[in-house]
Amino acid sequence: MESQLLFQFKDFSYQYRRQSAAALRHISFSVEAGEIVAVLGKSGSGKTTLAHVLSGIIPETVTTGTMQGKAERGQSVSVGLVTQSPESQLFGYTVEDAVAFGLENQNMLRSDMANKIDEVLALLHISHLRHRVVEKLSGGQKQAVCIASVLVMKPDLLVLDEPVSSLDPLGKSMVQDILFQLRESGQSVVILDQFADWCASCVSSVLGLEAGQIIFGGTLREFFQDPDLYEKLGVTVPPSVLLYHSLKEKHPEFPLRWNAEELGRALHGAVYLKSDEKESSDAVTIESSPLIEVRHLQHCYGSFEALSDVEARFYKGRVTSLLGQNGSGKTTLVHHLNGLLRPTAGDVLINGKTISGLSVAELSKSVAMVFQNPEHMLFENSVAEEISFSGRMHGEVLSSEEMDQWLEWGGLKEYKSAFPLNLSMGQKHMTAILCAAASRPEAVILDEPTLGLDLDMKRRLTALIGKLKQMGICVILISHELSFVCEVSDEILLLHNGRIVCEGTPRKVFGQRSLFADMKMPLPDMEILSDTLGFPSPVLTDSEFLRRTEWIKGGHTHELA
């Protein structure tokens, strides 16, 4: 039986303005009923433009712009879109109000509305959120409600535009579960993203989008088997796939799996941990006195205690990552380090001196902070002016050579004179990071620095963090991207309900499996792989896996049916 054709592109091109480059170029593909298609590409590749064409925003709302070729919806096909920012999309104070909004616009009877809302909340397992206030939901919950609010209108095709880009691992996991539900219910979905890890288990086909052009169309397996392709597209793939490519030359029998547990089961009995080497960061001599010291820090928002008796030390030339679920106190803690928040009790010292009495601007000489959304920071006319802003505020001039060096490290040399707010999200983020680093503070705080960054930018960021360490700068990181945290961190502080519940090297912290289970926090994929293989201690990166493991002679991998 032929599947219904939902949408078809035939040699479709789109330009926002005549003088600008085409956002989409000669796109040809079709979406059939029941498919879950992933369109993968880095930020700026044209994903959101494609989402807008699929949903009809282009050309019905965005009426300027030039189209060529065909972008046709099937007969009587409706398309629903979930945008990247659920807080801007949802209309309604409670979840019920927000989900009902679309149905009210369709002039549906009250009784029918109530039934449909019940159905969709049950389908997505979020019935318990019905009377909750949208504003107070977590990122993952808001995204789930956003999906529900669109799904309730029964679109034939659901388009998800980077649905997990700003979510923590728990939120990502929630959206992943929803995708499973949608697949089970036969809903057709197009996902546009630069992360292929979270949706890998559900996707039926993949399209690769680069600079507005489709350069790949095929299965997920074919996509993951071509590292040049996903690197070119700047797509983040599951760590298991990276491991496959690291090991396949030496071990051609190494199976390609994108789920860590499946990989572990396939490798069971074939690989063992050959040594319990010390972590490289264990061998580093820690300075006797910390750069930043937090003593008995307490912070209350009214009657709510956000931080309780927190003690922490941050050292020059080291990277400390703060982990914890949303609401655990990570942001509250770092906001004390540069004076944005003042303690209810306790103290923060920099170089042994208390920071109380110093303004945030005065403290910014010592502690620079990069906010999660770079658009909150950028306002100058060019990238170069942006990067030199903090220095100018502190009365320091950045030389032309230094400027070029920072731009080179950030991969932004050709954008030196560009208007920062016209850059892609990843480029904006890198600009904001360079703004902080170039002011040569004693410490840099990075809040979710990998958001919007493609693979190449992430590598540059990893290298940049290494350079900051070499310069003796203390780096404090908040990130939900656990593989990145494993890669760069010397130390991890794990927060829960305003307290530090575990601290130490990444191996030590991620080895606390039961603690993570109690906190309902996911572990990095490599840790899950280590656990499935029965390793006594975690192996957290693919290079570490190469170094610390041995293939058993005569061992064989278990092919899954």
């Binding site: 999309q89 306002f379 002011s439």
Partner: protein
């Protein structure tokens, strides 16, 4: 806490129907605009104080009072000065008199009345918005047959304004974190520095407006077409009781104003 935001609580005032609260707001606003005499205004103020105490809103109103103090102080002084520049009742003994000024009890009464009225005008609106979420405002206005575009617009304002205030604070914090000194120094210099915040804030507001437009399209909102409503607003006994008491108080204040 963003003190301009809706208070998610369960007070008697929260439980009133949005229709009741909107009608009450319109009536008391008109009365405050019309009634100027101190005894009548005092009655209204005492009525509102009772409402705030009963609804647990006293702390919020104290905060509002502190924030409005400069305006109220200025108004008080201005009315005293204006009143002292002419003689209202030549037969009565003034409090103070010289060649230019003649300060009488009536001048003080008017000044105090003005201050109360300013506070009341702002506080009744504030009471409405902190006890009625934006969805309820829309449902309430629709029930009162306000055209949907106007009702939606009103609700959208209350949905978006707290977000804009949050964005403003985040943008200011981001620039402070980069070395922009807005906490210290001469007032004019700090004010000029705040202008640097306007660009990223403006960009964010434009982005929000764009997102709202797209969302209206995604949810098939056509402002001219008829639409249904999930929530059914019913007038309960408490609504009638509150409106009844309010109308009695308003009538009393009006009567006091007439006889005064």
């Amino acid at each position: 806490m963003n003190w301009l935001e809706y208070m998610d609580e369960d007070t008697f005032f929260h439980r009133l129907s949005p229709v009741t609260k909107i009608i009450w707001f319109v009536l008391i606003s008109v009365l405050i605009a019309v009634v100027r005499d101190l005894p009548a205004v005092t009655v209204l103020f005492l009525f509102m104080a009772a409402v705030w105490v009963r609804a647990g809103l006293i702390d919020r109103m104290k905060m509002l009072g502190r924030n409005l103090f400069p305006i109220m102080g200025f108004a008080f002084v201005m009315w005293i000065v204006i009143g002292a520049l002419h003689v209202d009742a030549p037969d009565t003994v003034p409090i103070y008199q010289d060649r230019i000024f003649c300060l009488e009890y009536a001048d003080i009464s008017r000044a105090v009345s003005t201050v109360f009225r300013i506070f009341l005008m702002v506080s009744v609106f504030y009471t409405l918005i902190i006890t009625t979420n934006f969805s309820e405002i829309i449902y309430g206005l629709r029930k009162l047959h306000v055209p949907y575009p106007a009702a939606f617009g009103a609700g959208l304002v209350f949905q978006v304004i707290p977000n804009i205030i949050r964005e403003f604070r985040t943008v200011v914090d981001a620039q402070r974190s980069r070395g922009l000194e807005v906490d210290r120094g001469p007032v004019m210099k700090r004010a000029r520095r705040y202008c640097l915040v306007l660009v990223p804030l403006f960009i964010r507001i434009l982005g929000t407006a764009q997102n709202i437009t797209m969302s209206m399209f995604i949810y098939r909102l056509h402002l001219g077409s008829s639409r249904s409503s999930l929530k059914e607003i019913r007038t309960k006994r408490d609504d009638l009781l509150f409106l009844g008491i309010s109308i009695l108080v308003f009538a009393g204040a009006g009567y006091l104003s007439l006889i005064h």
